[in-house]
Amino acid sequence: MKSRTIKVDYLARVEGEGALTVKIKGQQVTDVKLKIFEPPRFFEAFLRGRKFNEAPDITARICGICPIAYQMSACHAVEDACGVKITGPIRDLRRLIYCGEWIESHALHVYLLHAPDFLGYEDAIRMAKDHPDEVKRGLRLKKAGNEIVRLLGGREIHPINVKVGGFYKVPEKREFFALAEELKWARDAALETVRWVATFSFPELDRDYEFVALRHPDEYPFNEGRLVSNKGLDIAVREYDQNFVEEHVSHSNALQSRLKERNSYFVGPQARYNLNFDKLSPVAQEAARSAGLGPVCRNPFQSIIVRSVELVYACDEALRIIENYEMPDAPAVKVEPRVSTGYGCTEAPRGICYHRYRLDDRGVIVDAKIVPPTSQNLKTIEEDLGQFVQSHLVIQKDRLQWQCEQAVRNYDPCISCATHFLKLHLESE
């Protein structure tokens, strides 16, 4: 019986190092492995013995693309342990800096990492030769997001101004004026982005996913909410460990997560969108509708449209926060450690990022657990590939390999987070 293998040894345009192997025997896909060979870095181990207020700066170093996600999850988990809840302008500023990270990360992925697949380019630099205006628009959008992070955080990568309890220093209202003008441009550019990506052609893929995201009664989720799914999950963040389990598989340096009661699940922009469409601002909802999306979008190849809709929302929300901002009396509230365990889960650009810390009476971390978004999507990506290849066996191998890479990039996988991510092998025995 004829068999073949689709192999990608070093998956490109993802953050980190991974590979993909799909084995096909006759007309049957027999094995799909997303290998993660990004070396292990042992964050959960060396967090033991560190002080509670070091967690945001240390965990930021898990990922250079989404450091805010780690800083926010760490702050909320530690504050939960210490019985502190942040409200008012400091809470708003945290949403604002998160908007900045979403804009920066989504613009990077939509324009520089994912769009080249749809238009048939190896990378955005080659794409820029034929589509200079689009690539320049993407870079300027990305820069607008980075500007928010830089103003509030001090720098774009591993910001220095975030701490447990709030910030070291908060801006005066007038410091936002120039930024607001750029964000108005960015919101228009994001709307333009939605229109642009909606014209791409999308391979078919429809599976019965379980989407998991935060849901908050009043807002599109960033830092707070309950964990919900389209299949009945509805739990507090502190119940995470009772409902999810991480497994160690031999082909990966990243742990794979699954729901204990069911199995694989799907996190990220598409999960947030499908579970929180009603909380998007009117301009973002309208953008989605005009791109032909309903309140639920299941084809993962269309994630690029959903990501663009979130770009619109993040610009819109950032402008709303800036408009209503009043400088707080103090940049942070005091947080005193106590013997306790704290839980935090926030919406990273790529989906939920869960942290748990156990502290002793001096605020020393005695135990830590961190679950990044990408390790929660790994099983779903493998399953997507299995079904996709099975239904596209007639496609020429080179093209199939490229589309497999594209299917992986639908999730904007961050292998640096999940330890690190992707290479693709399509193998026929």
Partner: protein, 258 residues
């Protein structure tokens, strides 16, 4: 005759990807850089790969696996100039905290099946393995310094990245000393410049992202910190950060370890 464009390659070892992202974060300069060089290997940005040799290789990340310890030699052989970028590549990074502990214990804390994991006992900088032409410091690196380094190597000159302390940058920007004026412990006096004295600008003490400056007097700074009421345990932790395995910081952290 048209001049051949110099070939640029970007390589990744154990790291967070932030330093190579700095290149993509040069939103205003990126297309100009891409015009001046041939991007021959940069998997984070492109699926196209060109064969070596390369005129300039940027290396991010530290060496933590037997496979990587081999791989770096091939990259060195294929590169005319090899520049390391960021604290992982220049000092072993935050993952070098394993160097002070038993890595087997670490593996069993994080992974259910430690036998699946292949890792070295220590996380080490690139310069422990091959000759390095230039080290660009920072966790993360400063993107303007990166553009300066690219420009210098492509034009055959030495990069202009000052080796003095963060204190000089505070003076340059007119920031009042947080340690003298507010009693905030600060690593500025022993830390290499490059960030633009960010933390003091935000009323925070420097925490050493750029690693030790030339000839740092760490023990003297530690005594000043002690006078401000900082415990030995906290002194050990502050030097044991993103540049923990850089020699002067390593020695100072060990001096405060019980």
């Amino acid at each position: 005759m048209a001049l051949r464009k110099p070939k640029l390659a970007v390589w990744k070892f154990s790291s967070c990807d932030g330093c190579q992202l700095s290149l993509l974060d040069c939103e205003d300069e990126l297309l100009a850089v891409a015009d001046a060089v041939e991007i021959a290997n940069f998997p984070e940005a492109s699926r196209a790969v060109a064969k070596g040799p390369y005129d300039l290789s940027l290396v991010e990340g530290s060496i933590t696996t037997p496979h990587d310890a081999e791989r770096i030699h091939g990259i060195r052989r294929a590169s005319k100039f090899l520049v390391t970028i960021g604290a992982c590549a220049t000092a072993g990074g935050i993952q070098a905290l394993r160097n002070f502990k038993d890595v087997k214990e670490f593996t069993s804390i994080v992974y259910a099946r430690p036998d699946y994991i292949e890792t070295l006992k220590k996380s080490t900088p690139i310069t422990d393995h091959v000759f390095v032409d230039f080290e660009l410091r920072g966790c993360p690196i400063n993107k303007y310094q990166l553009v300066e380094v690219l420009s210098a190597f492509l034009n055959g000159r030495k990069p202009n990245t000052p080796p003095h302390s963060v204190c000089v940058e505070c003076k340059q920007r007119g920031t009042v000393c947080v340690m003298v004026a507010q009693g905030t412990p600060c690593l500025g006096p022993v830390t290499q410049a490059g960030c633009g004295a960010l933390c003091p600008g935000y009323t925070r003490g420097c925490y050493g992202c750029f690693g030790p400056k030339e000839t740092p007097n760490t023990s003297s700074l530690s005594s000043w910190w002690s006078e401000l009421g900082v415990s030995d345990g906290d002194l050990m932790r502050v030097f044991r950060g993103f540049n923990a395995y850089a020699e002067p910081f390593r020695r100072e952290s060990e001096a405060h370890e019980k």
